[in-house]
């Protein structure tokens, strides 16, 4: 990706988002008397301010880059993400696997139930994070899943998803075994 584009990409995307949000704000139903401000005024004011900030930051970065030649533009007090030197190296594979597992867990919980989904997640997540000890992570998943079911469903009385079909039957059997009616 060209460095100029990479420099302004986050703020550019946010600017596009503000344009979309402003369009959405114009569709808010306003039924107020003449001379009164409606429910769209507050969000519109924030969106306009945010859009101006994004545009200003993009312009500032481009101007600074031109002035400093090829050197990266860093304002005084700029964040870590502005400075490629300070940004730690990224393990993209691990990140994608980790984020994928988090989303898979969200999707799986209603189907598999809290216990089964959590056992699988607790075993798989450390594996994705580089901990290649299958026996340990599996044991940890089982023990951790059981401990969390006891803590949340037996002690804290939080009603968590039981799953569907055979997984529901398994969750109910487990709850009955730990004394939750």
């Amino acid at each position: 990706m060209p460095s100029k584009l990479r420099l302004v990409l986050p703020h550019g995307l946010l600017l596009v988002a503000t344009l979309f949000l402003y369009w959405a704000a114009t569709r808010i139903q306003v039924n107020v008397g003449a001379g009164r401000i409606g429910p769209d005024a507050w969000p519109k004011a924030i969106i306009v301010f945010m859009g101006l900030l994004c545009a200003w930051e993009m312009a500032r970065r481009l101007v600074m880059r031109r002035r400093d030649g090829a050197a990266p533009a860093i304002a005084p007090g700029a964040g870590a993400g502005d400075d490629p030197q300070s940004t730690p190296a990224m393990h993209a594979g691990k990140l994608v696997a980790g984020a994928g597992l988090v989303f898979a867990y969200v999707i799986a919980v209603p189907w598999l139930g809290f216990f089964v989904a959590t056992v699988v997640f607790l075993a798989a997540f450390p594996w994705c994070g580089g901990m290649r000890r299958p026996v340990l992570t599996t044991a940890l998943g089982l023990a951790g899943g059981l401990a969390l079911v006891i803590v949340f469903m037996r002690v804290a009385y939080i009603s968590l998803p039981l799953g569907e079909g055979p997984f529901r039957a398994l969750s109910l059997a487990l709850l009955s075994a730990i004394g939750v009616s």
Binding site: P10, H11, L21, A24, A25, I28, Q29, V30, N31, V32, G35, R36, G38, P39, D40, W42, P43, I46, I47, M50, L53, C54, E57, R60, A75, P76, G77, A78, G79, A80, G81, D82, A89, M90, H91, K94, L95, G98, A99, V102, F103, Y105, V106, V109, P110, F114, T118, F121, L122, F125, P126, G129, G130, M131, G144, L148, F152, A156, I158, L160
Partner: protein
């Protein structure tokens, strides 16, 4: 006299068997999260929040307050012994505490940090009790323009003290304020940004933003940079760890350092958005400029430990003053305590001293008890606490994710909320990656409804006359302070640029 009587009631509330158990649990949990470098104090308090849903409001606040207090100490142990700051506020302790440890004075360094935490914590607790009610009394006379100005000041302070680029911090704040507008509008009942999705009509709970951006976002950030292996068995051989206290004469010799840094901690703590980390660094900076032994700072001087630690602990009492008296959180952790108040249907602010005085003084009593409990725990639990460092970060992170999901789900029993926190987790990661601070985003979602309601009510009451915010003396004054706070980093940046350019031109060749 009335204050003492109310404080006695607070202690009576606290000293019931259940509440004492909750206090002890909060102290242990707070210290554990502070010891683990992968878990921050704020994230620890967030993870404890779901356990408070089914509790009464008093035990819930006792748990979170105790975690907040003891969380300011635990990281000192690992910073001094292993050069691993459990929390950002513990970084200055490396400069002197670890240097003392290298000289074979680890036990004494830990003793100094305990004494500093005890003095800073107790003095700030006394100041908090004395200050909170008068501040609330003043706030009682406020009308909606003044409340809008106070909320605006709180938001502006968070932005300016967020330690990142001002533009990014403001963008993060705007996004938080916009998220708070999603759903059915309270004043007119209009649908805003729901895009035809029924689950968005109830709005996006600040809890989901907070848990997703802080909790899941932090886990993804750590995963992207590679989880750290246990520090070569840092917790091994813990038998050699102990604490040795300095003598009374040694403590008395550092009275000016204690006074200066405790006062700094309280004052910085009161400023919304500052918190323990800023307090520790400011106090250390003051000590390095005005301290009697300033030349020795950084080479293992007790003054460095006392300055950073007493200021960090003193900031707790300071941060609770604006939270309880005006409903403005003074730090990340107090924002979560504010969330606990709101989840139990109580809005902190001047009215809380009238309607829920007993509860407020229970929180005060908890701070006193927690400071003392934290020091006892810090003295006796040093060996098992160090053992915790052997837990691999990948496993800790997996549990953090599950705790985040349970916390988000249990609030409304809504499966759609799980998707929302996963999405905010990705947003939190992207924010961290591209230098956008998360604190303004979270505070925008918490304080946004308060800001909008007070703004809209003022506009309706004063016939759309927006000048009322500036012409009323108190709101005008507060807004001027907020504007000065926002302008200060800009002015500093411009001055630095002019100064650098002059120096570059003056350089020969």
């Amino acid at each position: 006299m009335e204050i003492l009587s109310l404080l006695a009631t607070g202690f009576a509330q606290l000293f019931t068997p259940v509440n004492l158990m909750v206090l002890a649990a909060g102290l242990v949990l707070g210290m554990l999260v502070a010891v683990l470098p992968g878990l921050t104090l704020v994230m620890g308090v967030v993870l404890a929040l779901p356990f408070t849903y089914k509790m009464g409001v008093a035990p819930a606040l006792i748990l979170l307050t105790a975690m907040y207090v003891s969380g300011t100490y635990g990281g000192a142990i690992t910073a001094i012994l292993f050069r691993i700051p459990g929390e950002p506020m513990d970084v200055p302790l490396i400069w002197d505490g670890y240097e003392m440890a290298k000289r074979g004075e680890a036990a004494l360094a830990l003793g100094w940090s305990l004494v500093a935490a005890l003095v800073g914590g107790l003095v700030s607790a006394v100041v908090m009790v004395l200050l909170a009610k008068p501040v609330a009394g003043i706030a009682l006379a406020f009308s909606t323009p003044e409340f809008f100005a106070i909320v605006f000041f709180g938001l502006a302070s968070v932005v300016t003290l967020s330690g990142s680029s001002l533009a990014n911090a403001l963008i993060s704040l705007c996004l938080g304020l916009l998220i708070a507008t999603v759903g059915v509008d309270e004043v007119y009942g209009a649908d805003r940004f729901t895009f035809g999705q029924p689950f968005l009509q109830d709005g996006i709970e600040f809890l989901l933003v907070m848990v997703g951006a802080y909790g899941i976002g932090e886990v993804l950030t750590r995963m992207s940079t590679g989880f750290a292996a246990p520090e070569g068995g840092a917790g091994q051989g813990t038998g050699r760890f102990r604490t040795a206290f300095p003598s009374l004469a040694q403590i008395f010799a550092l009275k000016a350092t204690f006074a200066r840094s405790t006062a700094t901690g309280i004052v910085v703590g009161v400023v919304p958005g500052a918190g323990a980390t800023v307090s520790a660094f400011v106090a250390y900076g003051l000590e390095s400029q005005y301290g009697k032994n300033r030349a020795a700072l950084g080479s293992g001087a007790p003054e460095g430990i006392v300055a950073a630690k007493s200021a960090a602990t003193a900031s707790v009492g300071g941060a609770l003053v604006p939270l309880l008296a005006m409903g403005i959180p003074g730090s990340g952790a107090t924002a979560i305590i504010l969330a606990a108040f709101l989840l139990h249907g109580i809005q902190p602010g001047p009215q809380v001293f009238v309607a829920n005085a007993e509860l407020v003084y229970t929180v005060f009593a908890t701070v006193f008890a927690a400071v003392i409990g934290m020091c006892i725990l810090g003295y006796f639990a040093i060996r098992p606490l160090c053992k915790v460092l052997d837990a691999p970060e990948a496993i800790v992170s997996a549990f953090v994710v599950v705790f985040c999901f349970v916390g988000a789900f249990a609030a409304r029993n809504n499966l759609s909320d799980l998707n929302v926190i996963a999405a905010f987790g990705v947003l939190g990661f992207l924010f961290e990656r591209y230098g956008f601070p998360i604190a303004p985003l979270v505070l925008g979602t918490i304080l946004g409804p308060l800001a909008e309601t007070n703004f809209m009510t003022t506009m309706v009451s004063f016939d759309n006359d927006w000048t009322v915010f500036f012409t009323r003396p108190i709101s005008g004054g507060i807004l001027a302070f907020a504007a000065a706070g926002l302008a200060w980093p800009l002015a500093k940046a411009v001055w630095k640029r002019v100064h650098d350019s002059r120096r570059a031109h003056a350089r020969p060749g």
